[in-house]
Subunit: 155 residues, 2 copies
């Protein structure tokens, strides 16, 4: 359990690609997509995860994450409400022990690329690389739970 404090940005160039150190394919769906709570099933390579998030409150959000067998995660995806989200997650060192998680969406969200950084507190400073675009942290269209049912291609 923890409080997740995350800021989310668009990217304004492809320069981030040269700085990545790894990528992983993520497939995820939602058992619950209420404004007040989300229950997410994720397949990340050979691992499954079940994650519960509370309502976003500013930059912070209550988050509980549990690893589960990947075969069960695949089965749970079939119980999901709405289409699954499919994306590449690229990791890119952000300095100061921080990491940019850059999500390059596929399928109905193809064309959307979003960079996220997880912070220890809301006031924490971080370096802004030149590829970083506009902040969209509080724009709920970019919540993955919403992208599942109102994908980027429909915007």
């Amino acid at each position: 359990m923890g409080i997740e404090i995350e800021r989310k940005f668009l990217v304004q160039s492809e320069a981030w690609r040269a700085a990545t150190t790894s990528r992983q394919r993520l497939t995820q769906g939602y058992l619950c997509r209420e404004p007040s709570r989300v229950v997410r099933v994720r397949v990340a390579g050979e691992q499954g995860f079940l994650t519960i998030k509370g309502a976003p409150q500013g930059l912070a959000r209550l988050e509980f994450e549990y690893p589960i067998p990947v075969a069960e995660a695949h089965q749970l995806l079939q119980l999901a409400d709405g289409p699954v989200i499919d994306k590449w997650r690229h990791l890119c060192p952000a300095g100061g022990g921080l990491v940019w998680e850059i999500d390059e969406f596929l399928g109905d969200n193809a064309g959307l690329i979003v960079a996220e950084i997880e912070l220890q507190d809301e006031a924490q400073a971080f370096d802004r690389p030149e590829w970083l675009g506009a902040e969209v942290t509080e724009d709920k269209r970019y919540l993955n739970a919403n992208l599942a049912v109102q994908p980027f291609k429909t915007w």
Copy 2:
């Protein structure tokens, strides 16, 4: 993961009490209460559980259960949709390696007592004790997810 095959009955006397071998207090709430899937948080003594169930199909239901830290289960109960269910679960040997789980509800469901037996297949025979009442397996009012929002006292 598994398929849960369960039959559910009312009780028609208090004679089951003399046959019980243990009881445990269960507190549970629902992060999702859709007809097609349920996400349940349960506190059972000093253990927490997160459980996902698919839609009931006859006597069978897809079920996934994961133990979680009890402190996190208490926090997740606060994200639940609707009131929590509070009950004593009594165990009572049913013969042939089977077990009666007898749920004695508290709070807004006080007065309701339901006996459940989990089977390996839908045709499996089992002994019917004299205290066993009418079968309610397919009566959705008795689903705990429904009892949370339409408790017994409102019937």
